[in-house]
C-alpha cells in the first residue's frame, strides 16, 4: 500500500474515532466545507481563534468564580459564549459540558460550577490534542502527494 493510501486510511480511522467518542460532530464537516482555494487555511484559522478565545473565557470564568460574591450571571454569559463557539466547530462534548455548566449557573451552585470548569478545561485540552493530530495527518497526506478526503 502506498504512503498516500496509508495516511488516508489513518485519517478515516481517526475521524471515525473522533466522531464515535463525540469529540466532533457533523458541524465540523460543515466547517471543512467552507474551506476553499480562496481560504485554504480556513479551518486551522477558525480552530486557532477558538482556542485563543476559550483561553480568555476560561480565565474570566475562573476569576468570576473566585470572587467572594460570585456573579453567576457573568459566569453564565461566558459559558453561553463558549457553548456557542463550541457548537460552531462541532465540539460536541464541550458543548454538552457547557449545557450542564449553565444549569449550575442558573441554580447558583458554586461547587457544580467549579466541577464543570475543570471538565471544560480537560475537554478543551483533549480536543486541542485531537485536532492537532488530525491536522498533522492531513499535512502528511498532502506531503505524500495525496488529497485530504471529504468529511461526511
Amino acid at each position: 500500500m502506498d504512503a498516500v493510501a496509508q495516511w488516508r486510511n489513518q485519517w478515516f480511522d481517526y475521524t471515525h474515532y473522533l466522531r464515535r467518542e463525540g469529540f466532533l460532530d457533523d458541524q465540523f464537516a460543515q466547517l471543512k466545507k467552507l474551506q476553499d482555494e480562496n481560504s485554504p487555511d480556513f479551518v486551522v484559522e477558525v480552530v486557532s481563534l477558538f482556542f485563543q478565545d476559550s483561553e480568555k473565557l476560561l480565565n474570566n470564568m475562573a476569576r468570576a468564580l473566585e470572587q467572594n460574591v460570585v456573579d453567576f450571571k457573568q459566569v453564565d454569559a461566558c459559558v453561553h459564549q463558549f457553548k456557542g463557539s463550541s457548537a460552531w466547530i462541532g465540539a460536541m462534548r464541550l458543548k454538552n459540558v457547557c449545557i450542564n455548566f449553565r444549569n449550575y449557573c442558573e441554580a447558583q451552585n458554586l461547587e457544580g460550577c467549579l466541577g464543570c470548569l475543570q471538565q471544560v478545561r480537560q475537554e478543551c485540552l483533549a480536543l486541542k490534542n485531537n485536532l492537532e493530530n488530525l491536522f498533522r495527518l492531513e499535512q502528511q497526506i498532502v506531503a505524500a502527494g495525496g488529497s485530504i478526503p471529504v468529511m461526511e
Binding site: Q30, L34, N38, V46, G84, A87, W88
Partner: protein, 149 residues
C-alpha cells in the same frame, strides 16, 4: 458552486450581482464564519461587532449620513449582544425612513419561540438558528428572492 444571484424578479435585489450584506455579531469567531458563509455565496460582506457600529455604517448613528444606505442589501445580526441587542438594532432600522425596506435577519444560538415571534413581528425577514450551515444561507437567498425550490 452557484455564483451570484440570478436577476429574475427579486424586488429590491434586482440586478444585484454581489449583494452587500452587513453582518453584526459581538463574537469574532461568529463574524469570521458568517462572513465566509456569505462570501461563498458571492456576497460582499461588511462586519460590525456591535449595534452601534452597525448603525454608524448604515448612516443612522450619531452623525447621520446616507453614503452607505443604497449599498446595503441585507443586514444579518446576532440577537444576544451586549449594549444593543439584535432586536433593538432591528427596531432602529425599521423605524428609519431611509433603511426600513432593507431586510433584517436575526441569528441566535437559542431556540426561544417568544424571541423568534417577537423579532418576526417587528419586521425581521427571517430567524436563523446558530450554528448556521451553507444550506441555511441557500434558504435565505431563496426566501429573499421568493424562489421556489
Amino acid at each position: 458552486m452557484e455564483s451570484g444571484f440570478s436577476s429574475s424578479s427579486m424586488g429590491f435585489m434586482e440586478n444585484v450581482e454581489q449583494p452587500h450584506v452587513l453582518a453584526v455579531d459581538d463574537s469574532d469567531i461568529d463574524r469570521k464564519l458568517i462572513e465566509k458563509l456569505l462570501k461563498n455565496f458571492s456576497c460582499k460582506v461588511t462586519t460590525a461587532e456591535n449595534g452601534a457600529r452597525a448603525l454608524e455604517f448604515l448612516g443612522l448613528g450619531d452623525h447621520p449620513n446616507h453614503c452607505n444606505v443604497s449599498k446595503v442589501n441585507l443586514v444579518i445580526t446576532d440577537y444576544c449582544m451586549p449594549g444593543m441587542t439584535g432586536y433593538e438594532l432591528l427596531k432602529k432600522i425599521k423605524e428609519s425612513s431611509v433603511m426600513k425596506e432593507v431586510p433584517v435577519v436575526i441569528m441566535s444560538s437559542e431556540n426561544i419561540p417568544n424571541r423568534i415571534s417577537k423579532c418576526l413581528e417587528e419586521g425581521a425577514q427571517m430567524f436563523m438558528l446558530k450554528p448556521i450551515k451553507q444550506s441555511d444561507i441557500k434558504q435565505l437567498r431563496c426566501h429573499l428572492m421568493n424562489c421556489r425550490s
